[in-house]
Amino acid sequence: MSRGIIIFAQNNEYVNYAETACACAGYARKNLSLFDEICLITNTETLESNETLINEYFDRVIVSSIFQPDNVRLFKDTTDKLEYAPFKNMGRSEVYELSPYAETLLIDSDYFIMNDVLDQVWDSENDVMINCKYRDVSERHKENIEYIDNFSIPMYWATVVYFRKSDFAENLFTLISHIKYNYKYYYYLYNCSGNLFRNDFAFSMALHILNGSVAFDVPSLPIDYLNNSFDLDDIFRVNSHNDIIMYCADAERVTNHLLSRFTNMDLHIMNKKAIGRFIDDFLSNGEKV
C-alpha cells in the first residue's frame, strides 16, 4: 500500500507557489513519518524556474497542463496591501487520476504541518476525510462552520483532504471535475457568494450531491479543526519546524495585531506574502529529501 502526500503549486506573478510548496513539504517531512513520498503537481513553467529547489524537497514531480481558465482573486497582505492576480487552483479535481498512491493526503501549499497527528490518516476505514469545522487563530470569526451561503450547504475545506483509491473517492472527483467545467450553473444552484472558483465550494457541492443531496456527514480528519490564519495576519518569527509566532489581526481593530505563539499545532497560513518574507526560515527548518 503506497502512501503519498500531494501538494499543488503553479506560480503567478504575485506568489512563488513553488517556494511555498517546498517549505510546506519540508515541514510535512520533518513532522510526519508514515508516508512513502511527497509529490508536487505543477506546470512546466513553474518547474523550470524552480527545478533545483523542487528536487531538494520533493520525491516526485508530476507535470500537468490542466485547463486553467481565468480566475482572478484578491490577495491581501495584512490590511496594507491588496493586489489582484490570477489564481490557478483548478487542478485539484484531477488529483485522483494523477495520484500514483493507494492513499493520498492532499494539502495546500500554505498548510504547515507542525505535529504528527496527520500520520493517523493512513490505513483509515474511511475512503475520504475532510474537515468542515475550522477555527480562526485570531478569533475574528467566531463560528466554526462556514456555509457556502447563509441559505446553502455547509462548506468543507479542501485545504487538507485524505482519500484512498475507491469507488467513493473516484466518483467524488468525477463530480468535482464536472462542477469545475459547469461552475456557473452550480454557482447559482447552490447560491454561492463571490465570483471566484473555490475548490472548497466544488468539494462541498460534490459531497452534497454524492450523499444524495440531503443533510450529510463526511468523516473528518483526525485534527478536529482546521487552524486558519487569514490573510490579515502576519508572521512575526519562525522559530523551528514546530514553532511559529504570528501577528494575529485584532478582532476589535484589524489594523492592530496581537502576538500569539503556535507550537505543535498545524497552521494554514493564508497570507502568501508573509510566507514569502520568511521563506528562507521555513526552508531551513524543514527537512529535505
Binding site: 505535529n115 493517523q120 490518516v121 476505514e125 477555527r135 478536529d224 479543526y225 509566532i245 502576538l259 500569539s260
Partner: protein, 130 residues
C-alpha cells in the same frame, strides 16, 4: 445633612488620564493572553486524537473511564464507535487503554506546564520568548 452625592467630574486630571491609559493598555495585554490561552486549548484538543484499526478517537476522560470499565470487566476485545461514529473493532482493550491514557497524561501535562507559564507572567514578551 451631609450631601454624599459624588460630583460628576467635568475635567480629567493628568493622573486620571494616565490611569485610564494603563487600564486600556492592560486590556490589550489581556486580549493577547486570552488569545494565546485559547490557542493552547485548541492545540490540546488537536493533539488528543488517537487512531487505531482504521478509526479515529478523541481521547477524553469519558473514553478513558469507559475503557477502564471494559478492561475491569474482563473484556479483551470490543467494538467501539469512533469520532465519526464508525464502529471499530479493538482487539486488545488493555493496550488501547494504556495508549490513550498515556497520550492523555502527556498532552494534558504539557498543557498544564504551558498554561502555568502563561498565567504566571505578566509580560507577554517573556512568555513568547521574544
Amino acid at each position: 445633612m451631609v450631601d454624599t452625592t459624588e460630583k460628576i467630574k467635568t475635567e480629567s486630571s493628568a493622573d486620571d488620564l494616565q490611569r485610564l491609559e494603563n487600564a486600556l493598555d492592560f486590556s490589550y495585554t489581556m486580549r493577547t493572553f486570552n488569545l494565546n490561552k485559547n490557542n493552547l486549548r485548541i492545540k490540546t484538543q488537536n493533539l488528543l486524537s488517537y487512531s487505531t484499526a482504521g478509526g479515529s478517537f478523541t481521547v477524553n476522560q469519558s473514553l478513558i473511564s469507559f475503557m477502564n470499565f471494559v478492561v475491569s470487566s474482563g473484556k479483551t476485545e470490543i467494538s467501539l464507535l469512533d469520532k465519526n461514529d464508525i464502529p471499530i473493532h479493538i482487539e486488545n482493550t488493555e493496550k488501547f487503554l494504556d495508549e490513550i491514557s498515556s497520550l492523555y497524561f502527556e498532552v494534558v501535562n504539557d498543557y498544564y506546564n504551558e498554561y502555568q507559564k502563561l498565567r504566571s507572567s505578566r509580560k507577554i514578551e517573556k512568555v513568547l520568548e521574544i
